[in-house]
C-alpha cells in the first residue's frame, strides 16, 4: 500500500492471533512521543475491527489502513494520552 506517511516504528504482528497484534501495537506505542506514527502489519482478520477500536479507546488516531501483500496494514498516530 503506497503512502507518503512518515513511519517511526513498524510493528510486525503477522501470524499472531487475537489479542497479540493489539498487545504488540500497545507496547510499541508506549515508547513513542505524541504525533509519532506506527505501522502495524497483521494477518489476523480480527485486526480489521480490533485495531480501529483499540485506536479510538486509547486516543490514538488511525490515519489509514489497507493491505500489503497478504497482510493488513494500519498507520496509527500516537495521541496525547
Amino acid at each position: 500500500m503506497p503512502t507518503d506517511i512518515h513511519v517511526d516504528e513498524v510493528v510486525d504482528a503477522r501470524g499472531l492471533m487475537c489479542p497479540m497484534p493489539i498487545l504488540a501495537a500497545a507496547k510499541a506505542m508506549k515508547l513513542l512521543e505524541p504525533g509519532q506514527v506506527i505501522k502495524v502489519l497483521a494477518t489476523d482478520k480480527g485486526s480489521l475491527s480490533d485495531i480501529p477500536a483499540w485506536a479510538i479507546d486509547t486516543g490514538n488516531e488511525l490515519l489509514t489502513s489497507g493491505t500489503e501483500g497478504d497482510a493488513l496494514v494500519f498507520y496509527i498516530r500516537k495521541g496525547e494520552l
Binding site: 501470524g15 492471533m17 489479542p19
Partner: protein
C-alpha cells in the same frame, strides 16, 4: 475601514499552533476520563478451570489493559487452576458433555468418556491452538502481569481446595467477595466467565 469575517479576525487574534491544539485535546480528554473513571476500569471473574475456558478471561484482560484500562481478575473455584504454578498440566479439555467441541469424527459420550480421552482432547486442542499461532496461556499470563493486571485469588476457594499460597504463580494477591465488589462497583466493565 475594511470588513473582516468573524472567523478571519478570530484566527488573527488567537493564533493556535499545533502544540496548542494538542494541549487542548489532552486537557479535554483528561477531563472526560476524570469525570468517568469507571470507563477506564474492568473487573473480570474467571471461574472455570479448563484449557479452553482459561482463554476468554485472559484474552479480554489483556485487550482491556492494552487499551489503557486498569484491570482486576478474580480467580475463584476452578478458575484457580489458571494461576496455579502447574497450570500447564492442570488445564485440560474434557470432551464429555461438550457437543460443541470439534472432533475428528462424531463421538457419543460413552466413547469420549473412556480413559485417555481427556489427555487426547487436551493434546488436540493444544496443537490446534499452536497451529493457528494462538498465544499460550503462559504468554497471556506474562503479558497480563507486564501490563499490571491485578491477579487476585479467591481466598475462600483457596482454603476450601486446600491450596497453599506458594502453589500459585508469582505476583498474585488474595482477596474475598467484598474486595471484588469494591473493584466491580468502580468498573464499568464487569465480566463473569
Amino acid at each position: 475601514m475594511t470588513m473582516q469575517t468573524p472567523a478571519a479576525s478570530a484566527a488573527e487574534t488567537i493564533p493556535l499552533t499545533e502544540a496548542d491544539i494538542r494541549r487542548i485535546v489532552k486537557e479535554e480528554v483528561t477531563k472526560a476520563f476524570a469525570s468517568n473513571p469507571a470507563s477506564r476500569r474492568a473487573a473480570i471473574i474467571a471461574s472455570k478451570g479448563t484449557l479452553d475456558w482459561a482463554y476468554p478471561p485472559l484474552i479480554l484482560a489483556n485487550a482491556a489493559a492494552a487499551a489503557g484500562m486498569q484491570v482486576s481478575m478474580f480467580f475463584t473455584f476452578y478458575g484457580l487452576n489458571i494461576i496455579h504454578r502447574d497450570f500447564e498440566k492442570k488445564l485440560k479439555v474434557d470432551p464429555v458433555g461438550n457437543p460443541a467441541m470439534p472432533m475428528p469424527v462424531p463421538m457419543p459420550d460413552v466413547v469420549t468418556g473412556m480413559p485417555g480421552m481427556v489427555t487426547m482432547a487436551s493434546k488436540m486442542m493444544r496443537s490446534r491452538f499452536a497451529k493457528n499461532n494462538v498465544a499460550t496461556i503462559r504468554t497471556l499470563l506474562d503479558s497480563a502481569r507486564e501490563l499490571e493486571v491485578r491477579l487476585i485469588a479467591c481466598q475462600m476457594t483457596v482454603d476450601v481446595f486446600d491450596y497453599a499460597p506458594e502453589e500459585f504463580i508469582e505476583g498474585i494477591e488474595f482477596g474475598g467477595a467484598a474486595a471484588f465488589m469494591s473493584e466491580a462497583r468502580r468498573s464499568e466493565v464487569n465480566l463473569f466467565i
